[in-house]
């Protein structure tokens, strides 16, 4: 969304209630809130559905529309990484209350690491302009969104390879691959953590072993990845704290990292500290990123 606050009245939250989104005809079919599909493959199309109860009269009242003015109830999907959007079914509502099943079918080739399902109520046809009242057809009067992770749940894309075969330092255990000058691009596809499968500690990184040693190695790797991302972004003049990077992009991911580690601290302050007192900054990173927390 490029505008967060529309220049007109929106409907109250409770005007539409319904079941959570569910997947039709797939392994992810369940009654709970659908947050991730671990087994999804881009060659597989997806169908989602939900049933909603819609108080159209209430929406008209909240938004200053005349009684019976046509509204549209529908669903829009978006996959930010794939730069794709589309619509599911749309219902023209002229009555006061509606119970409806919303459904959407999405081609797998149009999706990437996530999909957002947005339930919408919009103005069904244009109306004369009036103060703080929506007037364009399609103006959004109510919405809610559910994001579904399709990336398989990995925190960062990882791949095991033999470093020696690629002429990389054979003694290294991991290597982060990314480009700090491209912050708008999706994490999936442009950032990858390579793990050296020749390294004796490789098994500790990829396995689910709970020994303190394996735990410590994984903690060190996550710390190092976060550290490289934060330092890379702070070194780049293109990275800005208030810029709106696309969902699941590298820029947005780093903003999240910095916000959670250094809440309330300005970006320029951090840049200055990193350049002028790198040893203090490194120590602060260890502290804020909680290196080795829970280990041992």
């Amino acid at each position: 969304m490029s505008i967060d606050t529309p220049p007109y009245r929106m409907a109250n939250d409770g005007r539409l209630v319904g079941d959570p989104w569910r997947r039709r005809g797939g392994a992810g079919e369940s009654g709970g809130i659908l947050e991730a599909l671990a087994d999804w493959d881009p060659s597989e199309d997806l169908v989602f559905a939900r049933t909603v109860q819609f108080d159209a009269a209430g929406v008209r009242e909240d938004t200053g529309l005349p009684t019976g003015w046509p509204l549209k109830l529908g669903v829009v999907w978006r996959s930010a990484d794939a730069r794709s959007r589309g619509a599911g079914n749309v219902v023209l509502v002229e009555g006061d209350r509606v119970d409806e099943e919303l459904h959407v079918s999405i081609q797998g080739t149009q999706l990437s690491s996530s999909v957002e399902l947005i339930t919408l109520v919009t103005l069904g046809m244009p109306i004369d302009k009036a103060p703080i009242r929506a007037w364009r057809a399609g103006s959004i009067l109510w919405q809610d969104a559910q994001s579904i992770d399709l990336s398989g749940g990995s925190r960062f894309p990882m791949q095991s390879i033999p470093f020696s075969g690629w002429a990389w330092p054979a003694g290294a255990i991991w290597r982060l691959e990314w480009d700090a000058s491209e912050l708008d691009v999706a994490v999936l596809g442009s950032l990858c953590v390579y793990l050296n499968q020749d390294h004796p500690l490789h098994a500790a990184l990829v396995g689910r072993a709970n020994e303190p040693q394996a735990h410590a190695i994984r903690a060190a790797m996550y710390h190092d990845i976060a550290r490289q991302l934060i330092r890379g972004a702070l070194d780049s003049d293109e990275f800005q704290a208030d810029r709106k990077y696309p969902a699941r992009s590298i820029g947005r991911t780093i903003q999240g990292l910095i916000n959670s580690a250094f809440r309330g601290v300005g970006l320029e302050h951090l840049r200055q500290e990193m350049r002028q007192s790198p040893e203090v900054f490194e120590a602060r990173l260890q502290d804020r990123l909680r290196l080795f927390e829970g280990v041992g």
């Binding site: 493959d41 302009k129 992009s249």
Partner: protein, 482 residues
Amino acid sequence: MQLYPRLVGARARELVKGHREGSIAEVHAAGLALFESFVRADAIAGVGIEYTETGGARARHDTLAEVREALLSIATEHGYAPEGESKQLSTDEARVIDALWAVCLHERMQISRDEAGRAGVWAFLGCVLLPGLVRWRFARTGIPPANRFTGSLQRNTFYRLWWRAELLRDPEHVEPYWLLSALGEDEQVQFVERPSLAGCRALVLPAARLFIELVRPRDDIGNQMKVMRELTKRMLRLLGIVAFELLTPLQCTAMARGLIDDTLEGMNIAETADPLAELSRPAWMSKLFSTMGLTTLAQVAELNMKAAAQAKGVGRLRLRQLGPVVESARHLLTERASASPQPSTAVEAVVPAEKSGVDRADALRFSSRCASAPAPCARGRRPRRLAGCASRRRGSAAQSKDPAGTETFAPATTDVEPERVESARFSGAEAELLAKWAHLELMDYAALREHSKGAERRLVRQVFGEYDRFFESLAAWRARER
């Protein structure tokens, strides 16, 4: 869907060092050696190659070779010489090459958006499959930056072309990739490289089509790129508050048209060089039909004929084609006035309560003419000429703007019979249908196909798809009415 070999970024950067330093012929030879090595072993010694694990089948080596040959063939036709002296490309030639390569990549690669979002795929194309082409394409500006070869997701030579073809492909058009050659380089960038805008094809495609149709031919607009930048800013502002995906294609086209008009107005550029073209605006016509009665229709018909007499070429055709809509609307109202003289609330639907009393009285008065004098309005008869309306165009005394900026129509001096009038008004739904019909008539495919050229012709073909859907709606509505 196919999965392409992905070149690891660090290795791509190492290869690029050599590619940037060599001549075009040397880089071509280096690329060929790398590719042959890859074909022999499905790997390149010392170079990291990987594949996405799921989502399709690995592209066969001969598929890669076909993509390579197809792009090379286009290049060779335009002066690329793998073993000799290549011709340097001008800016225009580079644009042509880009458009041809974009189509070729998009048609041949057969990859999903997920795969096309992976940097390594494009690094493989730029560093292994076709580095000579990258070197040649950007030779005009000296040595190409490294990111034209590598997996840079914004600058890689082939990545940006594939995505342009993917996002600007116009499936309704007889030549689906026409926008790649019709839009300039910077104009394509405006649409494609803004992440939030790029995915909204429901708005981007009509805006691009209309930009080509309305702005491109305008000699009086010197800096068309500035218009494009202002237009995309307005599009971005609307994206946050309008769900374009829930609108019909016609509504999206009307919205895009409104944005272009607002952009031009905001830049103090006359809306259009051809005022007659205004009559084809669906939003304008919808307003027209929903606020007028028969008398105003007669005014429009009169205005139409007058304008058509002055217009030339396609403009004349457009105006003449509005005639059947006006006549049919007239017939509809006449039938209704005769058949159902009962008062109804139809007027309420078309004259909003918050509008001034004068407007509503005018609406009643207009309609009264229809109800009280159906005979002169019968189908096929020439509309009566009304005082003061003969040659007015948009913006003249035939219409004015209320304080909210909404167009209204000036009152006619006639007698009133309100009871009979109300049933002779168009409802909001009827008005919308008539507006659609009028728009479609103006764009009538069969007639315009013979007389239009270029962008106009493409637009006509695009709109034609709406024709059948409209008549289905009209038939359903008429069945309900009966």
